[in-house]
């Protein structure tokens, strides 16, 4: 019997990945933190912690608290800034045969565009993921990811500023994510990341104080998976650009579920904290599933849900 090697490669627009398993921004540091556990060469892509033009301090602690089958975080986009990333972190990532996706944000349309421009000149950066959906920012900022007009404006500005594949990361904290997906696509996005964390809150009943210093935070982990799968499916039906699915992926089965809902690739977030080797276990599991089910090309899973 001839056994065909299964094809794991997927395309996110112009970005070609050797397999669909990526890391989710903010959960994998700048790659080096997990290099002792994961062979970064085996990842479809490494997505780094969200960067801004200038370093940012983030929120006071406590910044994290566990909730049933999930966690709330209010890191507040602490980061070392684009300049330090390029100087201190990018050289390490360049040594690996994987795709480097830089997640970034700005505090104004101009800053988004300027950040994208700065990142676009660097070799070793293969795509940009634009974060318009952090729940831990002030009310004015939230409009980037919740008001389709503002989304269109900021994505259009970034589109003009970069020739790199542009992924827009959508917020689940909206009434209708389809409208947001469409706004990002119309503004020139090459792909969508779905979803960022869901705004939540948790209270210590003895002290009557919120567990997080920031009061509210973003919920991630298995608790959000069904919401995320639903939103990936909705975006898949609405937009014609590829989707990177994420939100509570712990196992290969979870990853496959996202692909069936319409994701062309998946990003693993909170699972890295529980099992630093989660991405590798998921990749192995996808391969095993494919050979068991007689699927020779992973792309055949994309949007395969029957309903």
């Amino acid at each position: 019997m001839v056994r065909l090697k299964s094809n794991l490669s997927v395309n996110i627009g112009k970005l070609k990945l050797k397999n669909p398993v990526m890391t989710a921004s903010g959960t994998f540091g700048y790659g080096e933190e997990y290099a002792g556990f994961v062979d970064l060469n085996k990842l479809g892509a490494v997505v780094v912690k969200g960067l801004s033009l200038n370093p940012s301090r983030g929120n006071p602690t406590p910044r994290i608290v566990e909730t049933p089958s999930g966690m709330l975080n209010a890191i507040g986009l602490q980061n070392i800034g684009i300049k330090a990333f390029i100087k201190d972190k990018l050289p390490f990532l360049k040594k690996y045969d994987t795709k480097v996706v830089v997640n970034f944000f700005g505090n104004a349309v101009k800053e988004y565009a300027e950040a994208a421009r700065r990142l676009s000149g660097e070799s070793g950066i293969h795509a940009l993921e634009m974060n318009i959906s952090c729940p831990n920012k002030q009310a004015g900022w939230i409009a980037f990811g919740t008001d389709p007009k503002v989304t269109f404006k900021v994505v259009s500005a970034v589109r003009k500023a970069t020739p790199l594949p542009l992924i827009v990361k959508l917020s689940p904290n909206v009434t209708d994510i389809k409208i947001m997906a469409k706004a990002a696509e119309d503004a020139g996005a090459d792909a969508l990341s779905v979803i960022n964390t869901i705004t939540g809150m948790s209270i210590n009943i003895k002290t009557r104080r919120p567990h997080l210093a920031n009061i509210t935070g973003g919920l991630s982990g298995p608790a959000i998976k069904p919401v995320a799968v639903r939103m990936v499916w909705e975006c898949y039906k609405t937009a014609s650009i590829p989707i990177i699915g994420m939100g509570g992926i712990i196992t290969a089965d979870d990853a496959i579920e996202f692909m069936l809902a319409g994701a062309a690739a998946v990003a693993v977030g909170t699972a890295n904290f529980i099992n630093p080797k989660a991405t590798m276990d998921i990749l192995k599991g996808i391969t095993a599933f494919m050979s068991k089910e007689g699927i020779n090309d992973v792309k055949r899973l994309i949007g395969g849900v029957e309903c």
């Binding site: 994998f28 933190e33 566990e66 089958s69 966690m71 909170t270 904290f273 529980i274």
Partner: protein, 257 residues
């Protein structure tokens, strides 16, 4: 370097109300932890609790290592019911650990509550230096490890908040009284501490006043334990530092309170 490994429980023994010593035997080769380093332990194979929990190394031997823990919530409630033979997953050793103690320096170890865990590890590794040990707790019942300390010939100075044992007051008060009495000697000392944040804060002022080098092991809520999530930061003169990777031990003089 840290590793992800399975360990089987050899013993899980209650030593005082709500306090347990867990003895683990790793099923694969692991890296020997240093005092002040810690492990992240999983208490369930499922998704609840989801995250691993950090615990300091309390004692290390050839084949085992021990954790001293206090039951405070979900994960520790589950942990206390684990039996010998149960297998749990661990990640570590993590963090920097206490810095090496310089020659000609007499260590002063100071612990509040369950903060005694990493300091007992340190005391064992420097017992030949006859460290001074200040041990504090809320009350007599919560004083931990007195016998273990005496076995390694350390007779701790004791302080309790309610005065039910030793001096009435905090361990920092006790240390302050000692330093005032022995102020001519103090330059040859170095302080190593673990306990509630308020205690470390008081201690940093005291150490500053007497111009003594001082180190504290810090705690923050953690998710990853490897410096990736940025959940566990402390504010220092050098900017934000992660407790899990750049700590948990920091010079107290560096902390911005």
């Amino acid at each position: 370097m840290s590793k992800l490994f399975l360990a089987s429980i050899k013993e899980n023994k209650e030593i005082a109300g709500s306090h347990y010593i867990l003895t683990l035997s790793p099923l694969t080769k692991t890296i020997k932890p240093q005092p002040g380093q810690f492990f992240m332990l999983s208490v369930s194979n499922g998704l609840d609790p989801l995250l691993k929990r950090p615990f300091s190394i309390f004692r290390v031997s050839e084949k085992h290592f021990q954790i001293l823990y206090r039951v405070v919530g979900k994960a520790t409630e589950i942990l206390k019911n684990k039996k010998a033979g149960d297998v749990i997953e661990a990640l570590g050793p993590l963090g920097n650990g206490f810095p090496r103690i310089k020659p000609n320096i007499k260590p002063i170890l100071i612990a509040g509550g369950v903060g005694v865990a990493p300091l007992f590890a340190l005391a064992e590794s420097v017992k030949y230096k006859k460290p001074l040990f200040f041990l504090g707790a809320r009350n007599k019942k919560e004083l931990l490890c007195i016998n273990e300390l005496r076995k390694i010939r350390i007779n701790p100075v004791i302080a309790t908040d309610d005065g039910s044992a030793g001096l009435k007051g905090t361990v920092v008060d006790a240390l302050s009284a000692f330093l005032t009495r022995h102020s001519s000697l103090v330059t040859r000392h170095c302080i190593y501490a673990c306990g509630p944040k308020a205690m470390l804060r008081e201690l940093s002022f005291l150490a500053g006043k007497f111009n003594i080098e001082a180190y504290g092991a810090f705690e923050e809520n953690m998710a990853c334990g490897v410096g990736a999530c940025l959940g566990c930061m402390v504010n220092t003169k050098d900017g934000l530092r992660s407790v899990c990777k750049e700590g948990p031990v920091f010079p107290l003089g560096e902390i911005l309170w």
